[in-house]
């Protein structure tokens, strides 16, 4: 018997409120990404001024809720909100009522009672941002949910590539390492495919999820496959996610030997990116990380303006003029 195509009415997911969120790159169309990148670019120009604060989101409240440790994401969201003059509040799981066993739903209801405009959430479990979106009226921004998505990371990576290479369409990006445990890889594959880039995933078979080619990428288990790429995107070997005895790789030593990104494996002119934090000497050789081709600091800088653009975009309606930051600053 062949495939069954008939499914009456289909499965209807729970109704989402008609509000905008950024939970997955899948929430975005190509024109949304183009608008966000253009807005981020205009913010980057405004940040070159002596007074960096813009009054754009004065009176708005952005709540950052982080259930997982994070340095660059939480600090850049907080700074992004402050640069736009929003009131910010940051909550970390440790020391909050989460420690006392409060459920995510109850935390969402509690935070919702303060009427925040945006809730930025990072959580170790897939689906946490959807849950918060269901129980609050705020716009929800996913700052990383388990192994699922980290959309602002992918946007800042697109921004970095565009800034460096002048385009995204047609660029070949090789993503190397632990794809299985990486929300960064998933968001990037989706985002790069959306923008017309070519993606090759490279890593040991147990760390490349079965069936991922359906997202529109190629897979290779040989490090030599990075040779043709314009950009080598190195993923962190997520040791904290490597369950004991799981045997994804026999040893980190063997991983580094076979898949580590070393100067010998990088072609001159090839750009190298890494979402951080790096394990120098494991997935990336320090000489590569510190070379001029490495865009790692540029990624961090892009994180600030891209997150400003995301907050701005969610809280303003209608098309955003590319130079929006200019007139707003004198307001």
């Amino acid at each position: 018997m062949g495939e069954i195509h008939v499914m009456r009415e289909g499965y209807l997911p729970p109704k989402q409120p008609p509000r905008r969120h950024l939970i997955s790159i899948g929430d975005l169309e190509r024109e949304d990404v183009e608008r966000l990148l253009a807005t981020a670019k205009s913010f980057s120009r405004s940040l070159e001024r002596e007074v960096k604060k813009l009054p754009t989101l004065r009176g708005r409240t952005v709540v950052n809720v982080f259930y997982e440790s994070s340095t660059r994401t939480s600090s850049s969201f907080e700074l992004a909100a402050k640069r736009l003059s929003a009131d910010t509040m940051s909550i970390k799981a440790a020391g909050s009522s989460v420690d006392k066993g409060e459920s995510l739903k109850d935390t969402a209801l509690t935070l919702g009672a303060y009427d925040p405009d945006v809730i930025v959430i990072r959580h170790p479990q897939i689906g946490a941002p959807e849950l918060v979106a269901r129980y609050t009226d705020a716009h929800v921004v996913n700052a990383g949910d388990g192994k699922h998505q980290h959309p602002t990371q992918a946007l800042l990576d697109l921004y970095t590539i565009q800034d460096e290479l002048g385009r995204i369409e047609g660029v070949h990006v090789a993503i190397v390492g632990d794809v299985l445990h990486s929300r960064v890889a998933r968001s990037n594959v989706q985002a790069l495919a959306l923008m017309g880039a070519k993606v090759t995933l490279v890593g040991p078979p147990p760390l490349i999820p079965r069936g991922i080619e359906a997202m529109g990428c190629e897979v290779s288990h040989e490090i030599g496959a990075i040779a043709d790429a314009d950009v080598v995107y190195v993923l962190r070997m997520q040791r904290e996610r490597m369950a004991e005895g799981a045997n994804y790789v026999p040893s980190l030593r063997e991983y580094t030997e076979r898949w580590g990104v070393t100067p010998e494996r990088v072609r001159p002119g090839q750009k190298v990116m890494h979402p951080g934090p790096m394990n120098r000497g494991v997935e990336i050789d320090p000489r590569v990380a510190d070379a001029s081709e490495a865009l790692i600091e540029a990624q961090v800088r892009a994180g600030l303006v891209v997150r400003m653009a995301v907050l701005y975009d969610l809280l303003t309606t209608g098309p955003v003029p590319v130079e929006a930051a200019e007139p707003l600053e004198v307001a």
């Binding site: 018997m1 062949g2 495939e3 069954i4 008939v6 499914m7 009456r8 009415e9 499965y11 209807l12 997911p13 729970p14 109704k15 459920s103 995510l104 739903k105 959580h123 479990q125 897939i126 689906g127 946490a128 959807e130 849950l131 949910d145 388990g146 192994k147 699922h148 998505q149 929300r183 998933r186 989706q190 999820p209 079965r210 069936g211 991922i212 080619e213 359906a214 997202m215 369950a243």
Partner: protein, 432 residues
Amino acid sequence: MLYGKNGRKDDLVVRGARVLDPVEGVDAVLDVRVDKGVIAGIGEGLDANGHRVVEGAGLVLAPAFVDPHVHLRVPGGEDEETIASGTEAAAAGGYCAILAMPNTDPVVDSAAVLGSLIEDAKTQAQVPVGFLAAITRGQDGAELTEMAELADQGAAGFTDDGRPVVAPALMRRALQYHGITGRRLALHCEEPTLSKGGQMHEGAVSAELGFTGYPSVAESLMVERDLSLAAYEEAPLHLLHLSARESVDALRAAQAKGVQATAEVTPHHLCLTDDAVRSLDSNVKMNPPLRSADDRAALVEGLRDGTIGSVATDHAPHARHEKEVPFEAAPFGVTGLETAFGALYTHLVDPGLIPLETLLERMSAGPARAYGLEPPRVAVGAQANLVLLDTEAAWRVEEKGFRSRSANSWLLGQTLRGQVRLTVAAGKVVHG
């Protein structure tokens, strides 16, 4: 092996329904008269004898359903379901008998626990219930329960449902004990090192969403092992909630070689695929997980050709707060007693994937035979176990409509075609 409330037996006439009993070979518009709980007449223009008359024109009257796989959650989970609420849900779903799983707290692994459940069923069960007992003490997979004593006490079968019997030697001993108990072993097939941490079917959707995959081979490997052991011991077995094509293929091959193996499949595995998990709705999280479109096709075909003889709801109630969490944190399981017929009529019969007669057989005689129970029949002299179905009625599945104490249904908000109008169980009108 089935226990329920005693008491009144009803008198009833169902007039002018399409009587459809695939086992008896009946398919005609007829009247059916029930006298004191027993089918007393089938024919045209029967005298009502002063009985309650139910107008059946345009409806289907069939043998009531048997659900071989229900979690009544007692003892220990009374906030989620009880014998009373679970059997009321069963009645509303058209069932005249259900079998309850022993993965409770405490586990049904002793004659004492089983005995108290049987006593409770005699005062609370709206429809007769059979209780399965555990294969291993505490379902720990280490030591066999006292299976002979449990069978004497009235166990309807044996299962460690929710968990596999991991050690092959122990599985073999349990099969050997079938010769003593005569009761079916029902197996949850899952190779735990392959399914470890698994949240959903391993495939393109899990790769995209980032969930740890629970591959098909984690099920089919165990199915193949258990079928090999059953062949070697020449003992029968029943495979619970199959989900993968490879499992159906292995079962079909074993049956062809004469292995006495039966199997069941759930409405959700017959209607949905892993694509539904994109919603991240915790009400599509179950074990085994929803699988690919190809697996679904194999399950439908297996049900159609009889390789899989039973539909089982695997009705698994969960408290609301347990499911109102991120998908990854939610427990496995969905409810199904009250929606099984509507879901399967809507998704399988109406689109022409399975004939109505086949579905009715797989929901009634199939599961009854798998456990050695008397199949419900529309025949003079038989105890009245009847369901009256409206295949035209469309109804919306809503939380407030459930008799079950829990509402973790994957069908919430959906409109279904096919509704149960009347259920007669053990000679008593229990619904409608």
